[in-house]
Point group: C2
Chain length 677, copies 2
């Protein structure tokens, strides 16, 4: 296995601070940046501890190889978990970001015979926000190895997964999704074997219907109904297919992308790889700065997860930031540009309608969506209806020719608690419901974006309204934040709302990082945001009663209880941090088999004491026998007898009573050596 570490050109590296953004980099700084980049990329690629990449084969489509991560525990168990990190963490695959990832889907797409390759739209200077042809030539020269010939639907064809599904076809992507969602289940059996426990913990799906085992046919049906989408542009053959829908695992999106005051291409590629390492199911490239087109090439060719964009951003860059200059022809051209590159879903703010804009005037924080505010400005300046709304069916024609999914934007989402669930927000949602019907007329896969900032008691209403108006199209929210008073911690304020709305039926959660409201996130922020959101998504899966969710918690709890520290760390979302935190106070290797940690020390560890109690009880049961009362507390004794009656507990305790007397007679040594796990 090799990973190419040849440094990339200096032009790709971010200026070291916002202040030098417009000045030339010194050669030394660029060289250092290149080295840093490759070191970080190498770190992003190392498999997680005790983990190997395994693959499940297809049945209907035998060439499928569906990746999972398998964690080897010290007691011989092998725990398989869902894995978004792509080939980067597979030592068997050599990756080089300058050449892009392998393309598992290419054959499936070609085999369907309903697409054709074509020349594609020629790149234009304004695609990268450049003025000089020479600048773009230099940029493109370094990206040449990433150039691809685009595909599109043959005349009259519709290549969306929904179109296939509605014609009864189970595509390779659908089977891949089924296999991936099931994962490997055999290891879970011991954790689900206790019927009392399973009944006690049975989830509350609140309308979700998650089958015990997902079949390719089930996936087809969900996609045909519009209740799930498989975002997978025919020009993104690198994607490892995944599904977004309330009857599947709750998914998480991470946002990357530069802005005018920060970040370069390589940093964005590195954030992509880093994000997939930590569990991002999709990634949105929200770049608004320079080199948008080329940055996107690098991201798409190197992304194993679906990529979403907000095309209005690039369109705005093309008109020099003057919203009023936006037009349908420019936007249409941008959609085609991005569809040819392989973007899997577009956020389209077609619900920001002219009559709704005045509804935002009395808001506390107006319109907080970038796209929403841009479109609102256009509407007001022209006094015309939003051109995304008026040209919506033409957008559908483009989407279906490449299988780009809609993410119908919540441009009028509330940006503060004060604006939650207001008139503007729900007016837009109703429009998104209308547009969903139109999209489905064209078999275009569609999901619906949602808020935002919503107090806990108003979150359920959002789910209810969305289900009512959008016919169970998947919901995709940003949080919501449940309070506004904690800038710096908005991954937590929103993680609370995200967990709740995930339980209520939201299919994908767009993460929020600690930098929300303050600045562009760096890679540490990306990780912190992902940790909060993987937690929220998993907590939601458990509450919904997803059959495959709680076993990982149980395996980790078992490891914890048995003091298998390494296993506890390795089963966690972030094994390295867990180990590091433990080692801050107990760094020696001997501490990894210690039956305590520094929280309580050896005498007070409740888990150790519980072990003692169980061993003791087990010994007593094995002995059986008559129960003499402990004379000193006769009243205590009769209370026991009353409490216990004739139950099995009484028998166990009767045995204990005898043993207690015997034990004391022998000297009262209670510290039983803990057997090795």
């Amino acid at each position: 296995m090799t990973h190419d570490l040849t440094p990339t050109p200096a032009s790709f590296h971010r200026a070291s601070s916002a202040d030098t953004a417009d000045t030339a980099l010194s050669a030394r700084a660029a060289e250092q940046a290149a080295t840093d980049f490759h070191q970080r990329l190498a770190a992003s690629r190392a498999p997680l501890p005790a983990s190997v990449k395994v693959h499940e084969p297809g049945v209907l489509h035998p060439t499928l190889r569906v990746p999972l991560r398998e964690i080897a525990l010290t007691n011989g168990e092998r725990i398989a978990v869902y894995d978004t990190s792509g080939p980067y963490t597979d030592p068997a695959v050599a990756t080089d970001v300058r050449h892009g990832l392998p393309t598992p889907r290419a054959d499936w797409i070609a085999a369907r015979g309903d697409t054709e390759t074509y020349t594609g739209r020629p790149i234009q200077l304004h695609d990268d926000g450049l003025r000089e042809a020479a600048q773009q030539q230099a940029l493109r020269a370094q990206s040449e190895s990433l150039s691809r010939t685009p595909r599109r639907a043959r005349a009259g064809a519709n290549v969306s997964q929904m179109h296939y599904a509605r014609r009864g076809i189970v595509t390779a992507e659908m089977e891949y999704v089924a296999i991936r969602e099931n994962g490997r289940r055999a290891w879970m059996h011991e954790y689900m074997a206790d019927t009392e426990r399973e009944q006690r913990l049975a989830g509350q799906g609140l309308g979700a219907r998650i089958p015990g085992f997902i079949t390719p046919e089930f996936v087809r049906d969900e996609v045909a109904r519009g209740r799930a989408i498989i975002p997978a542009n025919i020009n993104h053959p690198e994607v490892e297919p995944m599904a977004i829908g309330r009857n599947f695992l709750v998914k998480v999106n991470a946002n990357i992308g530069n802005s005018a005051v920060s970040s370069g291409i390589e940093e964005e590629v590195e954030k992509l790889v880093w994000a997939t390492r930590w569990g991002a199911d999709t990634v949105m490239d929200l770049s608004t700065g320079r080199n948008i087109h080329t940055t996107r090439d690098w991201i798409l060719r190197n992304s194993p997860v679906p990529i979403g964009t907000v095309p209005i951003y690039q369109a705005l860059e093309k008109v020099g930031g003057v919203a009023e200059e936006l037009s349908w022809p420019l936007f249409r051209d941008t959609l085609i540009e991005q569809a040819e590159q392989g973007v899997d879903y577009f956020t389209i703010h077609a619900g920001v309608r002219l009559p709704f804009v005045p509804m935002t005037v009395k808001r506390r924080t107006g319109i907080v969506s970038r796209g929403g505010s841009i479109l609102a400005k256009w509407c007001i300046a022209h006094h015309r209806e939003n051109f995304l709304y008026t040209h919506f069916e033409e957008i559908c024609e483009i989407m279906k020719a490449y299988d780009v999914s809609f993410s119908l934007g919540d441009g009028l989402r509330p940006g503060s608690l004060a604006d939650a669930n207001d008139e503007a927000q729900f007016a837009e949602l109703r429009t998104l419901g209308e547009l969903t019907k139109i999209a489905w007329k064209h078999d275009v896969q569609t999901m619906i974006e949602g808020p935002g900032h919503v107090p806990m008691h108003m979150i359920q209403a959002n789910m209810t309204e969305q289900l009512k108006h959008c016919d169970e199209a998947p919901f995709y929210t940003l949080g919501p934040l449940t309070t506004d008073i904690a800038p710096g911690y908005d991954h937590i304020t929103s993680g609370i709302g995200a967990a709740m709305i995930g339980w209520f039926g939201c299919a994908m959660l767009c993460y929020v990082t600690p930098k929300e409201h303050l600045g562009l996130p760096d890679r540490e922020d990306v990780k912190q945001g992902l940790m909060a959101y993987k937690i929220a998504a998993h907590a939601a899966d458990i509450a919904k009663g997803h059959p495959a969710a709680r076993s990982r918690d149980d395996a980790l709890s078992k490891a914890r209880f048995e003091f298998r520290w390494e296993d506890q760390f390795n089963l966690g979302l972030d094994p390295e941090t867990a180990r590091e935190f433990h080692d801050e106070t107990l760094p020696k290797d001997s501490a990894k088999v210690a039956h305590f940690c520094s929280m309580c020390g050896p005498k007070f560890c409740s888990m150790k004491i519980t072990q003692d109690v169980r061993e003791y009880s087990a010994n007593l049961e094995a002995q059986g026998g008559q129960p003499p009362l402990d004379g000193a507390e006769a009243s205590g004794g009769s209370a026991d007898a009353q409490a216990l009656g004739g139950s099995a507990d009484a028998q166990a305790l009767a045995g204990m009573r005898e043993k207690s007397a015997e034990f004391r007679a022998q000297g009262g040594e209670l510290y039983i050596p803990i057997r090795q796990a």
Copy 2:
């Protein structure tokens, strides 16, 4: 204002690592540790940015001075918020941890005339886990300035706040609480003036009944009913009184305390001050290592917040860690020792009953409560009922003589999702309900501890059961954690559950730090835990509809929208971190008035664009006039007319239409200078 920075003795400083715990410190290391300590303490004392300590006077008790923190905004607003940080952040008060805090309650207690001072129980070697009298003398010599003469109730008297409340007496503590809970409300009026907004956002109390304004009489009534407690031992006159109850603000507890493998006295004092700085409403000293008694003296004399303990820990230390050697006489003596020092509430695991212990045998993680596991071991070894249960009324007699509140321990709480809401857990809860009735017979203030690890869909049942069995005694949970898969992030896994159960009626939330399950928290962990829990508590207050909660969110949102960056930072829970995060990418002072940040840059800032849209709309409205259609999109125009009808929106947009034409005629310059806020 002065803060004494004379170094404290070397014996107080923690060994620099667990490995040297039993070896002598070099003089130099001790000196450095002392310097570090004082520097950190100084940092803990600086007022938060733009903040001053203000005091509200009493009316019934005119000498009351109830502290609040007032934040000065750049636009002249003064935002008053609840303040737990005590005199440390008051530049007008000189504090010295070797002498303890001022004692505002001393006069109130003396004036009630129902207590007497007395010699108190002589300190014993095993109180500090020492063997040599000389060791203890050295320790006590350095703590001499913290020694106090204890009080107790006169013969036949009951000095609990509940006893006074039930006799119709409004104590100084009750009035203090009322004033504190109300805070200053005048600044909130502008944020609550919009009736549509208030109706839309009206909370869901789910059985809570929070009045618009809290009177001392209301406090008395809540305490008399047992629905709230004011934990305030007569021997803790330094406490700034506070209430715990579902009809008050949701409170947060932070845990500090050493263990056998970590931490020293000074570090614990510093954690205390640090915790109150970041919003801890109470603090529990959970020390299990050396010098427990002396550590507690230092903590109590320096704590402006109530202090809780788990007396069984110290009792276990006294018997050398051998749980079977515990006895009622030893425990009783420990209760008196701690009550004389001034502990405000005791966790008493009287619900860990002998017949319940076998119910834990089939659990995934047994008994995770330290106290619970210790008592379970004792029960099994002796085959006797838990002595805390059998001697419960005698415990009540002690509590009422000092006004120590019960925190009835959840020794059988679930330590993993797999064990949530099981038989053992609810059997204990029912017992706690019985014990509450007994405690109330003695007018002993009581709260009930709760879980633990509970999936989201099972959290409400915990609240329901607790309300059913415990007659609305305040509930005090640890989280709960909503998933087990994220060691290193359990402040987040549990923050989700805490926010939800706080909404459902839980009165106090015991924090969880990132170190949970891994080791003893350090000061950064304490802060991270507090941030997550202040978020959870505040989100709960908002969802419940607490009248004073959402205004802070609104003030911050307004500052954000108006680009008053300093105000946005200063209104947050952690102003310094928010500022630091912003400055990572935009450090210059000019950025603090910039109408964008590095997330989107100047062209894409939605808030800026919204401002533009509003200014533009406002200008148009002011102009009025006939609306010529924009000829290019007649269809768009008629759609508008349809959409708008004859509403006020139509008028506004009609004006805009004219202005649009005018505007373009003038050259189409849309960038309107933003007026200074």
